[in-house]
Subunit: 250 residues, 2 copies
């Protein structure tokens, strides 16, 4: 039996043209693919490959399953959308590794990066992340809302552009409205806000509104929200406008 | 003559296995490739393709050149390493577009994302960006140092992991030491600092030291520096340790 390994891999935002050759190659060599149902659905079935789709919110179970299979000699790919290191499976696997048997420390584990959602959304709209920025997971499943709010205030004070991951879910319908309220209080200007839904897929929709008009119901679970800094600009032109943040700041 | 276009493209951190098929395809269709010398050197010459390597610090000239060629009907790829939207050529092209003739607003311009340095470095080390984080360009060519320092203090207060782009150059040998001094003052702990040099190339070197031991001369122009948050952990194990930030915060 060949030695097992574990490749925690990013599938990018959706389009096949954004999957790196490194990830394609790992999938071609894998015996097992593990991940959240819609991400595993992006992997083509083939003989010799077992697909293990699992439900949302079972990240640690999924990670433990992957480590156990690799320890048994399987060639395992854990798939995330975007990049596995940004609010995705890589940290969950390492949490499970720390909680597991010491022998797991000897496993061959690699993280294979992918195009994370904020980079894909930014590219489609222009370059809103062209100057200093931050990324905040808006979900308060794993941290208190008070910390989220504090980070938003400090990010606004630092004049970062802000990428909000997981801006909204059925269980948290109001968080994004609360985030916009904090931002309106801290910023009091008309900086542009990008709602980028299902980027690089056939369902892609981009929408840009000034901060005072931004509403939580403009996003859903498949939307990336990027709030500009005070210097982010819109270039009006036929077709879609270009949203970008200049490189310099005074 | 076919209609010209401009694709502002990211080549990823260095390894060919991290170039997206979308970028490979754009390069295959291009008539002209424009960029900083070492990035253009990563594009294979072929008949029908003109390479335009240019020196560092002429981003706006390069951007204007690219727009002018595309307006004349060329199929132009502007190359950056990493992602073009993160401290790279995309913002420069849009600045040049705004300053140029109105007709440039009609051009077919796309941004093709790439694996940016912090994602590649993070993947090689584990998952230090697994929780909220920020990215700061440490160069003060385009902004005052006082703003850099203010952002570092606010990022530490927010307890973000921090990715420092352009941490050091010959013209600014002391900036990274000054940044570490600000962080030591703001944090006063032994959080890990990752120096990831030339990631995914044969010259790759990773080094992790606690913040009190971090020194500017541990980085050069090819190094990505990632400073952990207060919760970033090291898993000791045979071979390389794993650096990661857990998903949750109290």
């Amino acid at each position: 039996m060949s030695a097992g390994w574990l490749a925690i891999s990013g599938l990018g935002p959706g389009g096949g043209a954004l999957v790196t050759p490194e990830v394609t190659d790992a999938l071609a060599q894998a015996t097992d693919v593990i991940g959240y149902i819609p991400y595993v659905a992006r992997v083509a079935p083939r003989p010799g490959l077992t697909l293990h789709p699992s439900d949302n919110r079972v990240e640690l179970d999924r990670a433990t399953h992957a480590l156990r299979l690799a320890a048994q000699g399987a060639r395992v790919v854990v798939v995330s959308s975007g990049d596995p290191g940004v609010f995705a499976m890589a940290a969950a696997v390492f949490e499970a590794l720390e909680a597991g048997p010491p022998a797991w420390g000897l496993l061959d584990i690699r993280v294979l990066p992918g195009i994370t959602a904020m980079l894909a959304a930014s590219a489609r709209a222009g370059a809103p992340l062209g100057h200093d920025f931050c990324a905040i997971n808006l979900s308060d499943n794993l941290k208190p809302w008070s910390l989220v709010e504090r980070r938003i205030r400090l990010a606004a004070e630092a004049d970062f552009a802000i990428a909000f991951y997981n801006p909204r879910s059925r269980a948290r319908p109001d968080d994004l409205d609360r985030a916009f309220a904090v931002l309106r209080d801290a910023c009091a200007d008309r900086r542009p806000v990008l709602f980028a839904r299902a980027v690089t897929t056939p369902e892609e929709v981009l929408r840009i509104v000034p901060l005072p008009d931004a509403r939580g119901d403009m996003a859903d679970m498949r939307t990336m929200v990027i709030v500009g800094s005070s210097r982010t600009r819109l270039i009006d032109r036929p077709g879609a406008p270009i949203l970008y943040t200049p490189r310099s700041a005074p």
